[in-house]
Amino acid sequence: MQVKNENWKPLIVAFCCNWCSYAGADLAGTNRLNYPADVKIIRVPCSCRVNPMFILRAFQRGADGVIVCGCHPGDCHYTSGNYYARRRMTLLFSMLDYLGIEKGRTRVEWVSAAEGQKFAETMNSFVETITSLGENKRLEDLRCKTE
């Protein structure tokens, strides 16, 4: 079993919608706006494609924080996807909080294709939050770490 040490770096999964947030991340790159390498982006067509299952899965496999990014409400490429995502994530986050998972391990942020700056700032601040929360021990399934 792998034991985490002081060299621990947070592992963060970011789900980004293809039309706004993923493009926002691209813009952050184009503008060379730095954010920690701990953030790994998964591209989804829309924030409404993010199944709570994916988020739990990430935590189970050892992610320390999960962030979902989508178009701003009202700007969804599919008109209503992010509205559904907003409700689902609100309820899921509330449930995780209710189960005693530290507040702040999950986040939703609306980032448009023009907001490269916001994307980088969001990721910097999220990494900071997760770093201060420390390792995710409450949702991790240790069996997944035995390789």
Binding site: G29, A63, T79, G81
Partner: protein, 664 residues
């Protein structure tokens, strides 16, 4: 097991400057399923693409991972390259190691490590990729326009002139819509009939246009390019093809006491009628609610006087089924009912009228022949109070009014005030307003002319109460700028009633599975970038059905809408996006949750017979996705509790494989 090739791009020094591309290629080469791994300076260049193509052939690759710039840049480039050598383009995945790695990380070790992880995630996804084939559907080259007002007419004319057939379905006996009832138009003050009726005639004479007047849409089936629509041609009790519109019957009909809808009940018509002189088609219609012959079987005057034997008392509704490639919604608006606003005494006094009624009272073809007479005693009014925003800009929770600005009232009220003052300079005109909104070409100048040249009294404030008393209307109002109460003895009060979508819009939206907002206006596919399309593919929006707008805006939208329709009809086939949702029928519960969240109406249900494990058969309700309509957002996939609904290209397992690869 897939045979995967990994191609790591240097992007010159853009990537290679920060990422150890050799190490990435080397490390990813050891991943399970990877049979070939290499790096190259510019993978998107012709020689880079050739490298990919050659490797696909040489190593019999079934999957390709390109570690390069954002997929938003070159995903299509590499998909095309793969397709050119026979590999399904959807077997290509991109790991974004430029925008997400080399451009934002400075430390070579960190960047290389992250590049490897992103590469692994892409490999994990490709393992689960399956070849996808974009569906093709043919296009029926005919459009349906629902609603024959100025919006519908303009859209139909533009489509027809581009060479495509168009059917207009209009629920009333004639096309023309609300614009036909209007007297003059702002800001030019040219007469509405003079500019509208030639268009109506043009529509009737355009050989590509077919008008189904006095008809309604009963059923819509199908999807973009392939709609089948049932149109109900309501019984006129007059043979449309025989009637010459001579109007003799409408003069001889003994039933004279029928409120005339065209004049909003301000005058009467006969039981057999032609709505107005320039009606298109100019055909008589019998109103079965008033016709003595239809009600009691005794009369038959119209039949006797008709020289062409067009009257047919036994006529029945007829259903016509037609196929269309595109459907345009142009159902327009109606003013809200103002009797709910008891403070304005609309129901108590005939001299309190709506603005549209005022239009008719001013109109030369109206009930008073264009002389402004107040409805109660047919005398000339000397003091007229206009009240703006009646039912517009109300509180969100208001049950009587609407939260939105109806947009056209400020301008038409200025028009009414101006025309009244011009024709009858002895009339005092007051306009009570919350704000005066005049954004539009020559609009503010127009409004200022009303105030400055015509001496219209504009008062900021709302009318509190209108009380009919001794033949006058006592108007109590507040002047907010002077902070005082006003008492005006008016002869007439004109209410600028808010507009709302036509009542027929809601059931139509259900038939079309087109979405609407809470006020029953149709929603656009995108509020900024696709304003004339509905999110439901193949359904387009023209005019007031999408939101309040004036005539020039309506006409521009109508033409824009036609352009979009033409763009669709000109295609012989529609090539779909293969990354669409699909449902596993064996797992589907038929619970309709996916259907409820689908913004495109792409999901339908069928009853299907299944053989069960115990060898019995059972009929189950299962979801079916129409790939031609689905846009691939994935809202349904998360709503589906059983996981029956999944998305090609972004499947549950693919995304979880990416999660796993990243979290390893």
């Amino acid at each position: 097991m897939q045979r995967i090739g990994v191609f790591v791009c240097w992007c010159g020094s853009n990537i290679a400057g920060t990422v150890d591309v050799k190490k990435v290629a080397e490390t990813l080469g050891h991943e399970p399923g990877v049979v070939f791994s290499t790096d190259y300076q510019y993978m998107c260049s012709q020689s880079g693409q050739d490298l990919v193509k050659d490797s696909i052939r040489t190593y019999n690759l079934t999957g390709v991972v390109i570690c390069s710039c954002s997929p938003r840049m070159h995903e299509n480039t590499f998909r095309k390259a793969a397709a050119s050598v026979g590999l399904n383009p959807y077997m290509v995945e991109i790991a974004n190691i430029r925008e997400q790695v080399s451009w934002i990380h400075k430390d070579m070790e960190t960047a290389t490590e992250k590049a490897i992880i992103l590469g692994r995630a892409a490999i994990a996804k490709v393992h689960l990729n399956a070849p996808l084939i974009a569906g093709e559907t043919p296009v029926t080259k005919r459009a349906l326009v629902i609603g024959g007002g100025i919006a519908g007419i303009q859209t139909a004319l533009d489509i027809a002139e581009a060479g495509f057939e168009v059917d207009i379905v209009e629920k009333s006996p004639t096309i023309g819509g609300k614009m036909a009832q209007i007297d003059k138009t702002f800001p030019t003050l040219d007469c509405a009939a003079c500019i509208l009726t030639p268009k109506m005639v043009e529509a009737s004479q355009q050989e590509n246009i077919n008008i189904y007047a006095f008809s309604e849409v009963d059923e819509v089936k199908g999807f973009v390019g392939n709609f089948t629509v049932k149109i109900r041609r309501k019984a006129r009790y007059v043979k449309e093809e025989l009637c010459t519109g001579c109007g003799l019957c409408t003069e001889k009909c003994p039933q004279k006491k029928v409120p005339d809808e065209f004049n909003l009940g301000l005058s009467n018509r006969r039981a057999i009628y032609i709505p107005f002189a320039q009606a298109v088609p100019k055909v008589a219609t019998i109103d079965p609610n008033y016709c003595t012959m239809l009600k009691t079987g005794k009369c038959g005057v119209c039949s006797k006087v008709c020289g062409v034997k067009a009257i047919d008392y036994t006529q029945k509704d007829e259903i016509v089924e037609r196929k269309y490639g595109a459907i345009v919604v142009a159902t327009g608006f109606e003013p809200i009912k103002v009797d709910k606003f008891e403070e304005f005494a609309y129901a108590q006094s005939p001299d309190v009228v709506t603005s549209l009624e005022y239009e008719r009272l001013m109109n030369a073809a109206g009930p008073t022949g264009g002389t402004l007479l107040r409805p109660s005693d047919k005398t000339h009014p000397h003091t007229i109070v206009f009240v703006q925003c009646v039912g517009s800009r109300c509180d969100e929770k208001s049950e009587k009014g609407k939260p939105y600005c109806s947009k056209v009232c400020c301008m038409y009220t200025a028009k009414h005030a101006m025309l009244t003052r011009e024709k009858y300079p002895d009339t005092e005109v007051y306009v009570f307003y919350i704000d005066v909104r005049t954004p539009g070409k020559n609009f503010d100048e127009f409004y200022r002319r009303a105030v400055e040249h015509y001496g219209v009294h504009y008062v900021k404030g709302m009318v509190g109460k209108v009380t009919p008393e001794n033949g006058k209307l006592k108007v109590q109002a507040s002047d907010l700028l002077d902070n005082r109460q006003l008492h005006i003895d008016a002869d007439m009060v004109v209410l600028a009633a808010a507009i709302e979508p036509d009542k027929s819009a809601r059931p139509l939206a259900t038939m079309l599975t087109a979405s609407m907002d809470t006020n029953d206006f149709f929603t656009e596919a995108h509020p900024k970038l696709r304003p004339v399309e509905s999110p439901t593919a193949g359904v387009f929006l023209s005019g007031m059905c999408q939101g309040p707008k004036d005539i020039p805006e309506t006409v521009s939208q109508a033409s824009a809408c036609a352009a979009k329709v033409i763009g669709l009809l000109v295609k012989d086939k529609l090539v779909g996006n293969p990354c669409v949702a699909h449902s596993d029928e064996m797992m589907c519960n038929g619970c309709s949750q996916c259907q409820n969240v689908c913004p495109y109406g792409a999901i339908t249900y069928t009853e299907k017979e299944f053989r069960m494990p115990d060898r019995t058969t059972a009929v189950r309700r299962v979801a079916q996705v129409n790939p031609a309509v689905c846009q691939g957002c994935g809202a349904c996939t998360v709503t589906c509790p059983s996981g029956a609904m999944d998305l090609f290209g972004f499947s549950n397992n693919q995304i979880m494989a990416e999660v796993d690869a990243i979290c390893k």
